[in-house]
């Protein structure tokens, strides 16, 4: 009898302590938890706000956020390890723009065609939708996107009565004039990312595409990295960018170092992702706040400008036991309302087209609307389940080509083409 009294009192005490903290009514069912593996965002409070809204609208669901490494390559290593082991404790994950074919082919990401219909897909920008498609299915929903943008010193261009250059040669010409007139030994014409890492592929592909070159031929699928157009673009970078328009040190630069040069006022032109806009216009960090212009990257004479597509997508773990619930979270995060919050409050470029027409967004983030032409035409890097292998070969080729003034670019390109073809053939062999 005594025992029963003690137990009852204890349990009442326990419930008195814990139950009031629960934000849902006592009689409701225990909410299901879905686990979302992400990385630490720049503005976590905005993401928390969106998750809170999701909890409010879906009292039967709880999202548990797990934070992985910030570096894309390291995050990739962790996600793929867990998916490879068929870890069902993970429901949702992020994918960088080059991953969906790999995740689709390996059977890690769930085919979302049933929920993410073609009609729904058309409401998103075409580049990211293409990046998420693989063999007739769609394996991710774009959350936000990025593309290579061309930043320039508006004040210097105005002062010397130049309009933003539309070709690379024009950029060199304007840059030389400005450097002569300014007589500042620390000033460079251009800064970009040329370290041997994924960013090198992004930067170099923009040069190559803007000369109508490429890695694979869009029609036949043949390897064309050793064709004259591609080789010419790479040679241009070696001869006119590295050590001339850009400092030689650019070969050791990732995004932060190259942006640093620009915001210290040491470079007239600069290639970077959309995030650089906020940094360059922040007077606490930047010496050139308010003097920055942005637009599409130049191209080679007679060809189209090209931007590399970046950005992140949601995917659902095929082995998860909460597919439908995970989808509800994706639907919430990629809704018009959430996309607008991400854009206005965290300055992340929406993947949903309609957001760009929103009046409040146009007023508060005019830069995002200005980026739209680049976003619309942004091109994905080669879509392949073995993209990481192709990327390593490209990095090797580009780095060897531009680090040495005497490099034999045609030979290096032939070697790269041969190795990439071998990788492609390996990936093709699974279809037989």
């Amino acid at each position: 009898m005594k025992k029963a009294v003690i137990i009852t009192t204890l349990s009442m005490l326990v419930s008195a302590v814990f139950i009031p903290c629960r934000p849902y009514p006592l009689n409701a069912q225990e909410p299901d938890t879905i686990v979302f593996l992400t990385w630490k965002p720049n503005q976590p409070e905005v993401w928390e706000k969106l998750i809170k809204e999701f909890h409010h609208d879906n009292p039967d669901l709880r999202v548990k956020v797990q934070v992985g490494p910030h570096s894309s390559t390291e995050y990739h290593a962790i996600v793929t390890q867990r998916l490879k082991n068929r870890d069902d404790s993970l429901d949702l994950f992020f994918m960088d723009v080059t991953w969906p074919p790999e995740f689709a082919n390996a059977g890690w990401a769930l085919d979302l065609t049933a929920w993410f219909s073609e009609r729904e897909q058309q409401k998103f920008l075409p580049g990211p939708v293409a990046a998420n498609s693989y063999e007739g299915g769609i394996y991710g929903v774009p959350c936000y996107l990025a593309a290579g943008l061309f930043y320039y010193r508006k004040d210097l261009l105005d002062k010397h009565e130049f309009r933003p250059p539309s070709t690379w040669d024009e950029m060199l010409f304007q840059g030389k004039r400005i450097l002569e007139a300014e007589a500042d030994p620390l000033l460079n014409i251009y800064s970009g990312q040329f370290k041997q890492y994924e960013g090198l592929v992004c930067d170099m592909m923009e040069f190559i595409w803007s000369n109508n070159g490429g890695v694979f031929d869009t029609g036949s699928g043949g390897v064309i990295i050793n064709r004259a157009e591609s080789v010419k673009a790479v040679t241009f970078v070696r001869d006119h960018i590295i050590g001339n328009a850009a400092p030689r040190g650019a070969i050791s630069y990732e995004e932060p170092e190259s942006l640093d040069l620009f915001i210290q006022g040491k470079s007239v032109f600069h290639r970077n992702w959309p995030y650089a806009w906020e940094v360059a216009n922040n007077p606490e960090k930047s010496k050139i706040a308010g003097k920055v212009g942005v637009g599409r990257l130049p191209s080679f004479e007679g060809h189209e400008s090209a931007s590399t597509l970046g950005g992140w997508q949601f995917g659902i773990n095929r082995w998860s036991r909460h597919h439908e619930k995970a989808w509800r979270f994706i639907k919430h995060m990629t809704s018009f309302k959430s996309q607008k919050i991400l854009a206005v409050e965290a300055s992340l470029a929406p993947a949903r087209k309609a957001v760009y027409l929103d009046r409040e967004l146009r007023a508060k983030r005019p830069n995002l609307t200005a980026f739209l032409p680049a976003f619309e035409r942004a091109r994905p890097r080669p879509l392949s389940p073995v993209y990481p292998m192709i990327s390593q070969e490209l990095q090797r080729f580009f780095s060897r080509a531009v680090s040495d003034k005497g490099s034999e670019i045609p030979q290096l390109a032939d070697t790269a083409a041969k190795r990439i073809k071998k990788i492609r053939d390996l990936a093709e062999s699974i279809r037989k």
Binding site: K195, Q196, P247, I251, P388, R400, S403
Partner: protein
């Protein structure tokens, strides 16, 4: 030894052996088995076919791997040589009695105590082409002649070698110091009485007696240098133009970036075999020296 006793001893070391097997033996065996298969995480349709020694054959014909091996050997040879030299000088210095010796001994060990990733990050900043202290130290305000250390193949390799020497010379010093301290003082006193100068005391007493310690330091440093990974990973990520793509980093990229588990394992196993051969050679040498020294 009685049979019973042997059984007892075996029982005593069994836990240690078990741990060794679980955490060292098993992964090595597993890596070796993996290296005999083609495993590509992005292409599970390939299954994981057994290919025998094909990965090793490919490795020998892979110009990038051969290049990585060559530059790892350059790295190992240079860093080990300079680390032993500087370690010896440091050890001789901090072996002497003088005011503030304990403080200096502690200072010498600081670089070795810093985690390599932190040290590598620091050296990456120091070698930066625009705001790095090294350029400022050499050229002052003359920024036109600043060297982009990490952007040129030759200087990038130099930067990594330099950082490694800075970091691990003190470890060599520690091992050599231990060797110095077991040399009996009477030998020096007797030599002094006989009128031997500093140089001949070093040549005839110190040098022969610290050789075993030097060999131990050589063993540790060579093996450790072969496994260099973090410095290159943080400072250059293998670039530019693969100039710092040491063998371990190449294996890591193959496995965890490209998802080629079989081929990457073949790289790891090859490094293991090289280090094993070196270790056996050294241990036999050290062992003989030790015996000679005792006799």
């Amino acid at each position: 030894m009685k049979k019973k006793e042997i059984k007892f001893y075996l029982a005593l070391i069994a836990p240690a052996l078990l741990v060794l097997f679980l955490f060292i033996g098993a992964p090595i065996v597993q890596s070796f088995i993996k290296s005999l298969h083609t495993i590509i995480t992005g292409l599970p349709q390939l299954k994981a076919p057994f290919v025998g020694l094909a990965n090793y054959k490919d490795l020998l014909n892979d110009p990038v791997a051969v290049h990585s091996l060559r530059l790892t050997v350059v790295f190992v040879a240079t860093t080990t040589f300079f680390e032993l030299l500087i370690g010896l000088l440091l050890a001789l210095l901090i072996h002497h009695r003088f005011y503030g010796r304990s403080a200096l001994r502690a200072c010498v060990l600081v670089p070795w105590a810093i985690p390599t990733v932190v040290a590598a990050q620091m050296w990456r900043f120091l070698f930066n082409d625009t705001y790095g202290m090294i350029n400022y130290f050499i050229f002052g305000a003359d920024s036109a002649s600043y060297i982009p250390w990490l952007a040129q193949p030759g200087t990038a390799l130099f930067a990594i070698i330099f950082a490694d020497i800075w970091k691990t010379s003190s470890f060599a010093a520690l091992l050599i110091l231990a060797g110095l301290q077991v040399i009996p003082q009477e030998l020096y006193q007797a030599a002094e009485v006989d009128g031997a100068g500093v140089m001949s005391r070093f040549r005839h007493i110190t040098w022969p007696l610290i050789r075993p310690a030097l060999l131990v330091a050589l063993l540790f440093r060579t093996i450790d240098a072969f496994r260099v990974f973090d410095l290159a990973f943080v400072m250059t990520h293998g670039g530019p133009a693969d100039a710092t793509n040491v063998l371990q980093l190449y294996g890591y990229k193959k496995m965890f970036v490209e998802g080629m588990m079989g081929y990457g394992s073949a790289v790891s196993v090859s490094i293991f075999v090289i280090v094993l051969i070196l270790a056996v050679l050294y241990v036999r040498m050290v062992g003989r020296r030790m015996l000679e020294a005792r006799a």
